[in-house]
């Protein structure tokens, strides 16, 4: 893509052609040149590629801007959205001062359990989903909601399923994990307890780990430790050692 041999005048002329701005007689001459002169032809191709590239890249960057609106429109999980419309500096400063004050108070006197929880918790990424499984359609359908962060919908769909399959470890596990992701450790605990009853359960270590985390959040340290000890997950051991400090 060499513009080296293309002067400004030539470049602007080619541009004019590409934009359909040439008069008929000029157009005919231009097209004849295209046919007869292969160097000229490649010059024109180069300019075309460059202009296309600029436009395409500009649009590509624009798409990311569009995408931000999608994140706003889509279903929000139960977290508050803080959108600062106009910057009120005074208020921000006051808020910042307050946060620093509270933060330092919290940090020195505060709840180390909450901190540990926040450090160690991240939602289970969920199971891979296939489109055409007919027998577990509703399960995977809710899994899609879960992956989108719409824990409420996933929970409601799974809880319906769970009524007809009360002994499904997978169901109990995911309902528990979804409740925990939805910041409701109290409701998570019974489901995770059920899921961890069966030692053959494939996700038993994750179940004990999340159960431990749930108890930690609920400030029940003894039970948290007991559950974590039953999990062979790396994170479990790390959390245990942090808890014992």
């Amino acid at each position: 893509m060499d513009l080296q041999n293309t002067s400004q005048e030539e470049f602007e002329y080619i541009e004019k052609y590409l934009n359909g701005g040439l008069e008929h007689s000029d157009l005919v001459k231009f097209e004849q040149q295209l046919e007869n002169n292969s160097d000229f032809k490649s010059k024109v191709e180069n300019v075309k590629t460059i202009l296309t590239g600029i436009e395409t890249q500009a649009l590509k960057e624009q798409l990311n801007v569009f995408h931000k609106d999608i994140d706003v429109i889509s279903i929000q999980p139960e977290t508050e959205t803080t959108k600062v419309r106009t910057l009120n500096w005074k208020r921000l400063l006051v808020a910042a001062a307050l946060i620093i004050a509270v933060g330092s108070f919290w940090y020195t006197n505060g709840n180390s359990n909450e901190r540990l929880y926040a450090q160690y918790f991240s939602p289970d990424p969920g199971l891979p989903t296939t489109m055409s499984t007919t027998d577990d359609y509703e399960f995977y359908d809710a899994m899609v909601n879960y992956k989108q962060g719409d824990y409420k919908t996933a929970i409601s769909k799974w809880e319906i399923l769970q009524k007809s399959k009360p002994n499904s470890d997978t169901l109990n596990y995911f309902i528990g994990v979804a409740h925990l992701a939805n910041k409701n450790e109290k409701r998570a605990i019974p489901f995770l307890e059920d899921a961890s009853k069966n030692s053959e359960f494939a996700l038993i270590n994750d179940a004990y780990y999340y159960l431990g985390l749930a108890y930690l959040k609920a400030e029940n340290i003894d039970k948290a430790i007991a559950s974590l000890q039953k999990s062979s997950a790396e994170n479990s051991k790390a959390l245990l050692s942090d808890l014992n400090d």
């Binding site: 060499d2 470049f11 436009e55 899609v144």
Partner: protein, 192 residues
Amino acid sequence: MQEKNPTLSSNNSFLEAVKNNNPQVLKNLYVSNYPKIEIFVLRNSGSKDQAKDIYQDAFLAVWQNIKQDKFVPQTESSINGYIYTIAKNKWLDVLRSQGYKKTIVTSQLGHFEIKDEENNDIDDDILKDKRLEDVMLAFKNLGDACKSLLRMFYFEKKSMNLIAEELALDSASTRNKKYRCMQKLREIALKN
């Protein structure tokens, strides 16, 4: 009786708006077609990030095809169907190439009825031209002043006079600047 899907003539302002990169029109098109694709990708072993990437690739391909008149939609809704088809096929290509064994059995892919003819008609590899990619990368890394100038000319399609006004220059100087920016772009592209 009101037509639900008005047909588009070649002079139709909607098509023209797309070709002229009208931000409102493009944004609506983009935002309204994304959710279906996100659901499709998530249901087929993908993540939200992958859905976004595939969708953006597809969107750009459709836009290029419209600009080059390789795709002339008859109705507005046929554009939606086109975007969906291209994005879907792109995702299936990804799945096939990575050999997702756990979740997709090849026999299940038959459900999606991808015939060879179908793919030949739909050109979704417009952007695979290496030279084009070089230009795009170069533009991405171009300095702010040149980038914004070239963007105004070639993406926003503003007129010379308007741009000259914004830069507080006369049109000759604006033209010169444009040429110099193009040279700069060319330099960066050649370095890749």
